[in-house]
Amino acid sequence: MNENKISLPTPAPLLSRAGWSAFIVALIVVCAVAPVLNMVVPQGSVFHMSDYAVALVGKIMCYAICALAMDLIWGYTGILSLGHGLFFALGGYVMGMYLMRQIGRDGNYKSDLPDFMVFLDWKTLPWHWTFSDSFIATLILIVAVPGVVAFVFGYFAFRSRIKGVYFSIITQAMTFAAMLLFFRNETGFGGNNGFTDFKRILGLPIATPSMRMTLFVLTGLTLLGCFLFARWLVRSKFGRVLQAIRDAETRVMFSGYSPLPYKLTIWTISAIMCGVAGALYVPQVGIINPGEMSPANSIEIAIWAAVGGRATLIGPIIGAFIVNGAKSWLTVAAPEFWLYFLGALFIGVTLFLPNGVVGLVKKLKGGAK
């Protein structure tokens, strides 16, 4: 048949030329420009990047990883999770346990055990602290703990075909229940104070400019790595099946795909990403407590993704920067208005920018042509 000469679309490249350029620029900024501006440029100069700015941007990059993870599960697969704060906190707690053990005998009670355990009059480490002395084991657990929790929860939820609002409510309940559990002293996670007063990581002091910068660069690289991985996922056929599940799940089933393994895979990947973000977050901010599991935190993650633009990958990262940038400015400038602002932002985006900031930019570009 010679009339068959249709040019079928070829698979899209991982990133376009412009995309790769932007990616390399971001890589240079994270690995070279920021360290130089912070550590080489003298403090008085206008180009100096303050320690406060390093800490802030480092923290927001952790949030951006969460927003990216949320985008994979919500933006691409259409499953709104209001419990991603739990996975973030789990990764953070695993890292926190390691950091607590690194304090050694330098705590207030000069004991081998972390201070809160001495305070509770415990004599030995509880069983779930067994691996907290090993950094390698900690790295494995940062991935494994949120991964396993998500897998088990997801398996039962998706197998029972729980969808939409019901799923969101259950995830919200899950993080709330975990928060109540972690608030209890007997659980062995430091109760409502959580973990803080960290001294060292890998034997090196944690509160030095160079360590802060190292963590900053690591976080930046993780964010960029997660972005590339997410991009690879969504442009594969796997990613298109996810979008198909979002748009018409029954058609996916009647096309011979079983949605369960697909949902479970992306759900677990998304949870692991959040866990890694939490593990990077804790040494930078120096504290982890059950407050991170509060439902409001999980909802905020969804807001970042919505503000930036769902199903765009770059959108949620931008959204995390916009919302958290505004938050750190507003909580100083007008602390009592911050929550009103957040609420108004969410309503405004829902009403006027269904595709978020990225959608708006695309629309303006399209209009200019």
Binding site: P11, V241, D247, Y257
Partner: protein
Amino acid sequence: MTPDLMEEGARVREARAVRQAPTGKTESGGRKAGFSRIATPGEVDVTHGRILYLEDVCVSFDGFKAINKLSLDIAPGELRCIIGPNGAGKTTMMDIITGKTRPDSGTVFFGSTIDLLRHNEPQIAQLGIGRKFQKPTVFEQLSVFENLELALKTHKGVAASMRFRLDSAQSDRVAELLHTIHLADSVRRMAGNLSHGQKQWLEIGMLLMQDPKLLLLDEPVAGMTDEETARTAELFLTLKGKHSLMVVEHDMSFIKTISEIVTVLCDGSVLAQGTLDQVQADERVIEVYLGR
């Protein structure tokens, strides 16, 4: 008997089965029905001349009998039209065949070896039963090409999808199908932007990509223009023989064009069966359609 003797015997029997390859001339695909044939798991066995059997199927929803002792069978390559007043159980019947609804009692077989009640929706789709919904269901946010690519018959596991690349034979198939469903000019268009009739066709195209043995089509020409309807009739007539089709429609002129045998469903069971003229002359059919 020693294991190697048994193996040899199996080889001989298999070779015999290959020699008796189907000629396609008879209803049973040219083969004689016989004993000790090798049943391949997942393969549809149509040697008894029936690709789909439903027997004494009953379903009730909260006491309402949606399907009441329904028995129906379809031959390989047949194009069967199903008509019936609203609530006759046409869509429920399709739900049962495709695994969406579990019947309270009865048997549903695909070929003579596959019990459909033991499989779920994705498995039934993989076995070779394609279904088009009453309301066209396509992936609106994906392009026409991506819609067809997803439906393509291939491994459908997670790892396979992550590694998947379209090979040249598969892209030829997509290209050929795009012509069949008259969407060659819209390859890159979002499926959500297509007209209603085009969506219907895209969905039919997605079914054909799965290379099904049996197609269940629920109101395939609803919302189509007369020209589109005529083209669809043409398409179905070319599919007949290669695939078995079960078409539920209300459009009588469309049925007149394509039908051989028409089955009339009413209150969850078969009321009448025959050519369109025969059933239209049937007293009981006139009664349920026109009311008493």
